[in-house]
């Protein structure tokens, strides 16, 4: 785990996010706010045969929350609904490869929360 939370991959995902935007057709959506800092993430999912076929997010927030959304949406593409629902905090941290303080952890987990809420609405 890197102590430098602003390592290059994080900044790159923040400044050039993957899967940012809208889907032409979504099977479910979910929006979550981090009331602490006003971070916001909206996720749109397209699920077919219990697999995440496509995903987009839109949001506004700090580098950590937005980079996590970029990296996590990329990871869950092609994953089964069941597997996405079982993702945990540590899976996100492994993906980000950084250690987060309890306060910043909420930023890091915002995208996971949004994705899992959208999955539940399938």
């Amino acid at each position: 785990m890197s102590q430098d939370i602003y390592r290059e991959e994080i900044l790159d995902n923040y400044q050039h996010p993957k899967n940012k935007g809208k889907l032409a057709k979504a099977s479910s959506t979910a929006s979550v706010y981090n009331t602490l800092c006003g971070d916001f993430i909206k996720v749109e999912l397209m699920v077919k045969d219990d697999v995440v076929k496509d995903i987009r997010f839109d949001g506004d927030g700090c580098a950590i929350s937005q980079a996590a959304a970029s990296m996590l949406t990329e990871k869950v593409k092609g994953m089964s609904v069941k597997k996405v629902a079982s993702l945990k905090k540590d899976d996100v941290l492994k993906l980000l490869k950084i250690s987060l303080s309890p306060t910043r952890l909420r930023c890091g987990l915002l995208a996971l929360d949004a994705i899992q809420q959208a999955i539940k609405r399938q």
């Binding site: 602003y6 900044l11 800092c37 006003g38 971070d39 927030g61 700090c62 580098a63």
Partner: protein, 399 residues
């Protein structure tokens, strides 16, 4: 100014000397306050008011002395000082105890500039048919004073506002607004959480009916706050909490209430906190609140000038002469949380987020901001360090 009195300022954070610029959230504590709390627990710890033994007498005396010191700080009488946990509880006390007599259709006027603690308690009264209205701000973060003429009616019962904004630092003309409230037959409540620590506050001169503030923002401990209430108001109000200490006589069928302020202090109070608070009040008076305000305004002026030179910065709020030492800003393309994280690595503590004032943050057209807030121990060098830290953040983000 008096940095040596604050032991915490000699610690390091991430290997760098601590530069503490989050004073609007909570201030640091001088050793005089810390020592008074330790001495109370080590020498005089006992319950107050009832014990005949020496320790109880000492504790009672220290508690009463604290009230005298706090009363002196805001030019009230000690009987008008109610100890609560914090500003939030003080405002809730008014919302429950005073507002119990309000009727459907009665109006309360607050402002868009308020901390959540001066919005949410009043929203709760809407269920009883009480109407809540808000005064807007100008683009420079000052109140739209002309709104009062439009909003105050014969049904207005309470006008409440912050003395100094915790986000943009604006010092509001509370004396003038309290006068407008009284002319309309309403009473006034001032949230003084950000003013009592930083500037002279005189309840006689302001003319308010209630004034609320917290100990922990004024060099005192957490868990102790103050509601000042005019004697007449307090005498007419029903208690807020019931139980020990607040009674005169208890029979199984019914009870009668103690004198003010004790009628509003049910249960064993925060004695150590009160003692610490009294010492903090004395400490502030020893420096002089006018000198403190002058110091803070000179830091605010320097910060606005120094940070203003940074490309891509937006600074919110009025000119330095109209504010306490609070400066909120944003850097284009970098979220406030990321600025705060990078500054933390340099040992610099600032606040980022919505500062418990979401309606104001929204009104400013943003979702969060960085906030540097000053106290007596801050210096221009701290602001230089802040500016360098912001430049580092810009470098990290390639801005």
């Amino acid at each position: 100014m008096r940095e040596k009195d604050f032991p915490i300022l000699s610690r390091k954070v991430h290997g760098k000397p601590l530069i503490y610029l989050d004073n609007a959230a909570t201030s640091q504590k001088p050793k005089q306050v810390i020592r008074a709390i330790v001495e109370y627990y080590q020498r005089s710890n006992a319950n107050i008011h009832r014990g005949i033994h020496t320790l109880s007498e000492e504790a009672t005396w220290a508690y009463l002395k604290s009230k005298k010191r706090v009363a002196k700080l805001i030019s009230s009488s000690p009987e008008e000082i109610i100890y609560v946990r914090n500003t939030t509880e003080a405002i809730n006390l008014v919302a429950y105890a005073y507002c119990a007599v309000l009727k459907p259709g009665d109006e309360i006027i607050s402002t868009i500039m308020e901390h959540h603690s001066n919005i949410v308690p009043w929203q709760m009264l809407k269920a009883r048919g009480i109407v809540l209205k808000f005064v807007d701000i100008n683009d420079d973060g000052t109140l739209k004073l002309e709104d009062y003429a439009k909003l105050i009616t014969s049904r207005t019962k309470l006008v409440t506002l912050t003395h100094a904004s915790n986000v943009v630092g604006t010092i509001n003309p509370v004396r003038e607004i309290c006068r407008k409230a009284h002319e309309a037959g309403a009473i006034s409540l001032i949230d003084a959480a950000q003013s009592v620590p930083n500037m002279p506050v005189d309840v006689e001169s302001i003319g308010c009916d209630f004034l609320a503030f917290s100990g922990h923002k004024m060099l005192g401990p957490t868990g102790i706050g103050v509601l000042f209430g005019r004697r007449k108001m307090l005498e007419e109000m029903q208690p807020f909490l019931y139980g020990g200490d607040m009674i005169r006589e208890v029979r199984l069928e019914s009870s009668s209430w103690n004198d003010i302020p004790w009628k509003f202090e049910a249960g064993t109070p925060n004695i150590a906190g009160a003692i610490g608070l009294g010492v903090a009040a004395d400490y502030l008076l020893g420096i002089g609140l006018s000198s403190i305000l002058q110091h803070e305004q000179s830091l605010a002026e320097y910060a606005i000038k120094k940070l203003g030179e940074i490309k891509g910065i937006t600074i919110y709020g009025p000119t330095p002469d109209k504010r306490v030492g609070v400066v909120s800003f944003n850097i284009a393309g970098i979220h406030a949380h990321d600025i705060a994280s990078i500054l933390d690595k340099e040992g610099i503590a600032i606040r980022s987020g919505h500062h418990c004032a979401m309606p104001l943050i929204k009104r400013l057209g943003i979702s969060s901001s960085c906030r540097a807030s000053f106290s007596i121990y801050n210096s221009k060098e701290d602001i230089d360090a802040l500016a360098s830290g912001i430049m580092m953040a810009k470098k990290v983000f390639g801005k």
